[in-house]
Symmetry: C2
Subunit: 320 residues, 2 copies
């Protein structure tokens, strides 16, 4: 008989089909599991699948006394309270790198769309205003990407792929992370120094308590009036109120965001801004990266139930 | 007294300011010059500035009997009838490479936006449908870019920059041009073979009579149902009716277009398609590339009036 596994976050059903072929899935779909399942059903649950960003409060962990493994679908695990799960002897796994290329590609899509003002350009053609020789929103040309300074914040697998892609656009690339890495880009020991130096700031840091709102009004001010910020990490990294204010007041030139402080809530203050390019957290959303993430989830579950070490374990503090 | 120079095509005034500091500009703004200026005014005109794509019929050349130089603002010169201008002893100059990086960047913007379906994703967030948990247009994930085959048609300066950028996205890159070049990409001796091989076709060929409608229903069929086509060259290269039909019937997956058969007319059949990303011929439209193009125009004009060879001459048949 297949082992029962709880689906903690809300996932499209299609993403769980392959996992469901091996495990008996109980889908809590983002709600506290006890609202959907009985205490009897939850009692034997030894493993759960989560989106990584959703918190799992102690009171919910209490409803699954047999829980031994938390498996994150994706690279992130910022919703995990490591002190709490360590106390309970629970192991955590993720899908490292499985979606890195897809996320880096979306970061580039957002960066290019924001800098080349793709949305107003597209609207101008689609509305018929171009054909009608109406005044163009593109009258003032944007700055080129070539020759500009791109700062990558966080130089893990996604950050490296972003850096390599940006370098191919004939830009100067610099980065900040907690320590210097063996990469061919200029290192900045502080985020402030990176923001001061760069024109385009690509946020690829692993999110956690120590990066909460680390990008606020001061960093955005350093980025400056010509600056563009792109975030494909987690919404928590940026103080969203400060970002909206910076975009409204042209303290920075534009933003490309795939993540938000409270998903799926992209606030009206943000969605009405013409200089923000917004996507619904689709960074890792490609056919190939879903297959790769599912491979990691299955490998982690299989190993756990076989009493072997997880092949893709998460160590707290592995942040880069 | 500054030499008079005719502005033949319609340009935003801002683009002519620097040139106007050195020459006495007569702006015909895209209309036959004789509609705006008298025969007396046109008679001494020895040089004109054109967008390169606009044709200059013999009857118009007849109104400028002193014409000795045609200076194209940009890289293109597909509107020039070389047999005709050679007969009249007119030299032609352009702005080679001045906007190559900007055009390549826009090609990448269009490719990424089309493959990652940026416009529906953006609309989903902006409309509030994401926050309202309405069904997502992104439910079926797109294919990743990494690992896909990108075909570059035309391997001049713009094509090379596109190829280098695509390679950084961990794709396989191939190309077709009239001859094999010293580039690190697989060569395909025919456009058909390239289209058969690739998933994404980037059109960067120099336009002319020999490339008119070279991409028609047959090439699009070879590109196939998963295929994406991007054109930043000239609209004339693609049979637009065949392209609209291929997009309507899902014979190909998507398109990113900066150029059209009759600009500024992007037909309704095209603008209503959800799988086309359309921009208003802004490939070379950055602050830096305008400066570089103006530098070339000024250098060509200065040399011509000093009776020196043009620094940026166009030789007919220099197509790559």
């Amino acid at each position: 008989m297949p082992e029962p596994v709880l689906i903690y976050s809300r996932f499209p059903k299609a993403q769980m089909v392959r996992i469901g072929e091996r495990y008996d899935l109980l889908d809590a779909a983002g709600k506290p599991p006890i609202e959907t399942f009985s205490a009897e059903q939850l009692k034997p649950i030894r493993a759960l699948i989560t989106a990584g960003s959703q918190q799992i409060p102690p009171v919910i962990l209490d409803t699954m006394p047999s829980l031994g493994a938390i498996v994150c679908y994706g690279t992130g695990y910022d919703g995990i309270d490591f002190a709490e799960i360590r106390k309970r002897g629970i192991v955590v796994g993720n899908s490292p790198g499985a979606n890195a290329a897809a996320v880096a590609d979306l970061a580039m899509t957002l960066m290019l769309a924001a800098t080349r003002r793709l949305l107003p350009a597209s609207d101008y053609v689609r509305s018929g205003d171009w054909a009608g020789s109406k005044p163009s929103p593109m009258m003032r040309p944007p700055h080129a990407i070539t020759g500009r300074k791109v700062g990558v914040y966080g130089i893990g697998e996604i950050g490296r792929k972003i850096a390599a892609r940006c370098a191919a656009f004939e830009t100067e690339v610099g980065y900040h992370s907690r320590s210097k890495h063996d990469v061919p880009y200029q290192y900045f020991p502080t985020l402030g120094a990176l923001a001061e130096w760069c024109d385009i700031l690509m946020v690829a840091v692993r999110a956690g308590a120590d990066t909460q709102h680390i990008i606020g009004a001061d960093i955005l001010k350093k980025l400056g009036a010509g600056g563009v910020i792109v975030n494909i990490s987690r919404g928590s990294v940026i103080d969203q109120v400060a970002l909206v204010s910076a975009l409204e007041n042209s303290a920075i030139a534009g933003a490309g965001l795939d993540v938000y402080e409270k998903e799926p809530h992209a606030p009206d203050a943000l969605t009405k801004l013409p200089n923000a390019v917004l996507t619904p957290h689709i960074g890792g959303h490609t056919v190939e990266s879903h297959v790769a993430m599912q491979d990691c989830v299955i490998a982690n579950l299989d190993a756990f139930f076989a009493r072997k070490p997880l092949p893709y374990p998460v160590e707290q503090g592995a942040r880069v």
